[in-house]
């Protein structure tokens, strides 16, 4: 029993890492623009397809991953500059509409270029179980990669000039402009970074769930839940929330409701957090003037 629970928690943490990455990508965009990117999952799926294309072209896994990440970064920046810039002060409905449109377009592009058949995605990690049988090689490896990504994002924001400028731009655009930060470009970089993180998450999850154009639909939902649980304006909170949702999902799926209702659990988490503690565990309360 205990070993079973432990096993569920471990593999929950492994999938939670994926949710944490996507949640972080969501929060990065939310923090700077107050938009929730409904297309985040589809963008990550597309990046994964690009990586698979490079692998099939004869590159090694890691080379393909790096190239896909770089390309995703560029595309992310481009999307911000072209589509999102005019939406800076648009009403919520307009931004939701554009994001849903983007979701549909990217999803269709995945299907168009790479067709709808379910594809296998290779894993660079050994296939045999590790840590005394609690985790598969891929789970352990992907958790490691996720933690590495999260750590480097943290170091980037904490200890580089550019990271500081990006945080400033997200926090207070007007004042940042006054001290000479190019806020527009900072937001675009944030989008690029979010797309790149999504690409890594996609490549890490694809060997587990297999690759098809709708691969990230459920994962995006868990990432939403994670981001809200941790606090949608707190990057650290969203990461922890992502891991927590992974564990909750696995334990609940194994002992509570069964695997058929896993997505409903994400819905319950979202509604529960929004009703009980709308700021999430680590978010700040925002006051608005009348």
């Amino acid at each position: 029993m205990l070993a079973g629970v432990l096993h569920q928690i471990m593999s929950g943490l492994a999938t939670g890492g994926i949710y944490a990455s996507v949640a972080l990508a969501l929060v990065m965009i939310y923090q700077s623009t107050h938009h929730v990117n409904f297309a985040q999952g589809e963008m990550a799926t597309f990046s994964t397809y690009v990586a698979l294309m490079f692998i099939n072209a004869g590159f090694s896994y890691w080379e393909a991953l790096v190239m896909a990440v770089v390309l995703s970064f560029i595309v992310g920046v481009a999307i911000e500059r072209v589509l999102m810039r005019p939406l800076a002060n648009a009403p919520v409905l307009a931004s939701v509409g554009v994001f849903i449109g983007l979701l549909l377009v990217v999803n269709a592009m995945s299907g168009w270029f790479f067709d709808y058949t379910i594809k296998q995605f290779p894993s660079p990690f050994p296939d045999h179980p590790m840590l005394g049988g609690y985790l598969s090689g891929h789970e352990l490896g992907s958790t490691g990669v996720t933690l590495l990504v999260l750590l480097s994002v943290y170091l980037f924001f904490r200890h580089t000039r550019l990271g500081l400028a990006m945080r400033a731009a997200a926090h207070n655009a007007t004042s940042s402009r006054l001290v000479g930060i190019r806020v527009g470009w900072m937001l675009a970089l944030g989008w690029g970074l979010a797309a790149a993180i999504g690409a890594v998450a996609g490549c890490m999850v694809a060997p587990i769930v297999f690759l098809d154009p709708n691969m990230m639909g459920g994962i995006l939902l868990y990432a939403f839940a994670g981001a809200l649980l941790g606090g949608i304006d707190s990057p650290l909170g969203s990461v922890l929330g992502g891991f927590a949702v992974g564990v909750i999902e696995n334990l609940g799926g194994a002992y509570l409701v069964g695997t058929e209702l896993k997505l409903t659990m994400a819905l319950v988490i979202i509604v529960g957090v929004l009703l009980i503690k709308p700021t999430g565990l680590m978010g700040r309360r925002v006051y608005s003037r009348v």
């Binding site: 409905l93 939701v96 849903i100 979701l103 549909l104 209702l261 819905l267 979202i270 929004l274």
Partner: protein
């Protein structure tokens, strides 16, 4: 008044002409257009007129469809009798969903309803409900025959029936939106706090709008289930909600007539673009959705409405001036008078002045 008669005439024409001239398949498609229009109307009441963004109306559509299907297959309730039950069920569910929605602003509500839409198929497949819902297999229901020995094919009768229900629902929606409740809904959308200060019972209006909206979309689901004769979890995935949202935006979020355009769009565009590629419908939807948001934020309905207003205004201006011209033509045989009045009329073009002083200019 004139618009009323024109609309009535158009509805009559739109009912009789397809009945007489369309094949059964085309009638079926048209029935679905009307069904989607009702569903989109429900969402328009909530999102367009009350400002609560929902990305999960496919859930209410599914509940309506399943209510009808379960009643028809398990309890042998006649199809028409399932509609009031389905309306009540969906209104109650909508009211219950509307309660937590009270605390969710814009984006968060969109997010939560999106999650609802994603979760729907799983709930429908859940094995505890399998006895009623038929699980993954879904339920098959019979197509209703025309009653009273009317000489109509089932498709023709169903089209007539659906249009009849739709007309009633549209008239109700129209009156609600024009009336006191509608003004309260829109006041909340435009400035919630000011609306509350004016004495509007905000929680009451918002939750009842949610109930009303869910009822409309749920009824559409019932009619859709009768038309398609089949319900299954996988036909109520997140894409239903997204399509309804696309139809809403394309038709115009706060436009009652636009819902028909939006419905025709989501019914026919996939058929057309499917010829190109399997991915084309999604791409076309997405591109048009983004384009509408940037170029025509009020949607096709809002666009046509403003065009119509512009047109009628310029036409009424034209008839005014032509009448004036006739009048003045009768008075001013003297060429001098025309020249005299020139500067005066040029200076006061915008002001409504009597025909005697300006008319000659035109």
């Amino acid at each position: 008044m004139r618009t009323f008669w024109i609309t009535a005439l158009l509805v009559l024409l739109g009912t009789i002409w397809p009945l007489a001239g369309f094949s059964n398949y085309h009638l079926f498609q048209l029935t679905l257009v009307v069904v989607y229009a009702i569903a989109i109307l429900g969402q328009a009441l909530l999102t367009g007129f009350n400002g609560q963004i929902s990305l999960g109306h496919g859930a209410f559509y599914a509940i309506g469809a399943y209510t009808t299907a379960i009643l028809m297959s398990t309890w042998n309730v006649p199809y028409w009798a399932t509609l009031p039950i389905s309306a009540v069920v969906c209104a109650i569910v909508g009211f219950l969903v509307g309660l937590p929605a009270l605390r969710l602003e814009g984006l968060y509500l969109a997010l939560t309803t999106f999650a609802l839409a994603v979760a729907v198929p799983q709930v429908l497949k859940y094995k505890l409900f399998e006895d009623w819902t038929g699980g993954v297999q879904g339920l098959v229901i019979d197509k209703p025959e025309a009653p009273f020995g009317l000489p109509l094919s089932p498709d023709q009768w169903l089209y007539l029936f659906t249009v009849g229900i739709a007309v009633v629902l549209y008239i109700i929606a129209w009156n609600i939106v024009r009336g006191r409740v509608g003004r309260a809904m829109m006041a909340i959308r435009d400035h919630a706090m000011a609306a509350e200060a004016m004495g509007i019972n905000l929680p009451m209006v918002k939750t009842s709008t949610f109930a009303l909206s869910a009822m409309y979309t749920g009824l559409a689901g019932s009619l859709g289930a009768i038309a398609v004769q089949f319900v299954a979890p996988d036909s109520f995935g997140v894409f239903v909600s997204i399509f309804l949202f696309v139809g809403l935006v394309v038709g115009g979020v706060a436009s009652i007539g636009g819902t028909l355009i939006g419905a025709a769009f989501i019914e026919f565009v996939p058929n057309l673009s499917d010829l190109v590629s399997k991915a084309a419908p999604g791409a076309v939807y997405g591109v048009i959705l983004i384009a509408v948001m940037f170029l025509m934020p009020a949607g096709a309905g809002g666009f046509l409405y403003s065009m119509g207003r512009k047109l009628s205004r310029s036409r009424s201006a034209q008839t005014d001036t032509s009448e004036q011209a006739e009048e003045t033509a009768a008075v001013s045989h003297d060429p001098m008078s025309g020249m005299m009045s020139m500067p005066a009329s040029a200076a006061f073009v915008e002001r409504p002045v009597t025909s005697e002083s300006t008319g000659q200019n035109d």
